[in-house]
Amino acid sequence: MLRIPCPWCGLRDESEFRYRGDATRRRPAAEAGIDAFNAYVYERDNPRDWHSEWWLHVAGCRRLLKVVRHTLTHEIRSVEPGADPQGAERSR
């Protein structure tokens, strides 16, 4: 069970959050070409290491958070307000 320290709401259970994936991706410029867009949409580092990722606090403040978490130990190193909605995946 993850417990994520939300900067707005305090320490909360993972079940209050919705995962939104890798937070390191940046949308390329419109004319960047097919390879750049393929890399942006589909390719992932998927590290067995520290991972920067978006979490949406759906059952709390409804803010987007940028969490740095280890994908093997699940230890959370930092949580900051997600200021970059451009990089977040906005699906459902």
Binding site: M1, L2, D13, E14, S15, Y19, G21, D22, I34, D35, N38, A39, V41, Y42, E43, R44, D45, N46, P47, R48, H51, E53, R69, T71, L72, T73, H74, E89, S91, R92
Partner: protein, 434 residues
């Protein structure tokens, strides 16, 4: 009568060929106190060079090795496994086989696999306990019924068995299910009678035995640390036991494909996620089909030992931890007792997690890569077990001929950039939602 003449000792062979298993052999060995059985597969130590090195001694790695030897006569092959055989995902799944997909290419691929399952035991001379007890997917709304009916029709157009059944037939098949749940009443089911279960460990052991007998080296406790690439071409693998050179390297390490690919600076359209599975205490026979719930993610079958084997969806965030967290365990348990209220008093005996390659479209990858000589078998999401025979057959074809097998051509890596993804559920590039 002459005493049996001791035969001259044959020259030391690289491996003893296991004799055939049969009822007569079993009787004979039984009379001898079962002391005559030899190892099912030879414990090989690796040579410095192979034509083909397969990384990962799971279902797909072993099946690929077997098909390389049996169908293409390529036996200069090593399968490298970091632990003992059968402790990875091949031994961590819920053992279900079926071919009830929606996308025509997927139906053809998984149907090939199902046909191979049907003759697997004869082919391998190994009892894998293939049990075609039927898979029954329940539906609870009219929209869901239409969707399943469409899927069944799609399958029947391709000559695969599928049928829609009403509540009366569901009641007959699964007397334990609560069909009149106030919130999610069961309107019917989608039945594939040829679906079922297979004893998963036996699949690893059977393929290992057959591949080893055909001359493949199966090397346990040999961890591949990285891929060696020179001038855009793979030259071998760095292992815990030193460097092993190879003309072709095949990755069959689903769950950790990204980690190994990264050692060759290759990025894949994959995220790793954990899927949990559960086994209950053993009870008398209560369920003789594979049952899936339509109003939540839950599937269950009963093993021959009597335990109910069940699971749900992935936990939903990137992880390499082979364990699960409690919220998903709670969700699975809630679905279990909603559909089968009698399970409420059953104790869970074991729970475990396996790491999955989740791809961007929810379909697997059997493909060449942009590194020459590097073949990828991965991205199995959480449907890899049922695909083991076809995955191995088509990967072996790709290695032997350099072109994809027709049944797996749609699983090429190039499909993402080309916009030809095989997205069974129409979700888009969000692996944690597949």
């Amino acid at each position: 009568m002459n005493a049996p003449h001791p035969r001259p000792r044959p020259p030391l062979q690289r491996r003893a060929t296991p004799s055939r298993y049969s009822i007569w052999r079993l009787l004979r060995e039984g009379l001898g106190g079962h002391r005559g059985w030899s190892r099912a597969w030879a414990k090989a130590s690796p040579r410095p060079r192979y034509r083909v090195v397969i990384v990962g001694g799971g279902g797909h790695g072993l099946s690929t090795a077997f098909h390389l030897a049996a169908e293409h006569g390529i036996t200069d092959v090593a399968v490298l496994e970091r632990g003992p055989l059968g402790l990875g995902n091949v031994g961590r799944n819920t053992t279900i086989i079926r071919s009830n997909y929606f996308h025509p290419d997927n139906i053809r691929f998984y149907e090939l696999s199902l046909r191979l399952w049907e003759r697997l035991e004869r082919e391998l001379n190994f009892n894998a306990m293939v049990s075609q007890r039927g898979t029954l997917n329940l539906f609870h709304t009219e929209a869901q019924r239409d969707l399943f009916t469409r899927r069944a029709n799609q399958m029947r157009l391709l000559g695969v068995d599928a049928e829609a059944v009403g509540p009366a037939e569901v009641r007959r098949l699964v007397p334990l299910a609560d069909l009149d749940n106030g919130r999610y009443p069961v309107l019917g089911g989608f039945l594939q009678r040829r679906g079922g279960t297979v004893r998963h460990d036996a699949v690893a052991w059977g393929y290992a035995r057959a591949a080893s007998a055909a001359g493949v080296d199966i090397v346990e406790h040999c961890e591949v640390k990285g891929l060696a690439v020179t001038h855009g071409r793979v030259s071998g693998v760095e292992t815990s036991g030193g460097f092993i050179a190879a003309d072709t390297v095949c990755l069959a390490v689903a769950g950790h494909s990204s980690v190994l690919a990264a050692t060759a600076e290759l990025k894949l359209p994959i995220e790793s996620h954990v899927l949990q599975a559960f086994v209950s205490e053993p009870v008398k026979p209560v369920l003789d089909v594979v049952l899936t719930y339509g109003a939540g993610h839950f599937y269950v079958s009963q093993s021959d030992k009597g335990g109910l084997v069940f699971g749900g969806a992935i936990d939903g965030y990137n992880t390499y931890g082979q364990r699960g967290t409690l919220p998903m365990a709670e969700e699975v348990a809630a679905a279990a007792v909603t559909l089968l209220p009698a399970l409420a008093r059953l104790k869970v005996l074991r729970q475990w997690g396996g790491v999955m390659d989740m791809t961007m479209d929810g379909s697997p990858i059997i493909s060449k890569t942009n590194i020459e000589g590097l073949i990828l078998n991965g991205g199995w999401c959480y449907g890899g077990f049922k695909a083991i025979p076809a995955g191995g057959l088509t990967t072996a074809h790709l290695i032997a001929h350099g072109v994809p097998h027709p049944a797996a051509a749609h699983l090429d890596l190039g499909r993402f950039a080309a916009g030809c993804t095989v997205d069974e559920r129409g979700i888009g590039p969000f692996p944690y939602l597949h």
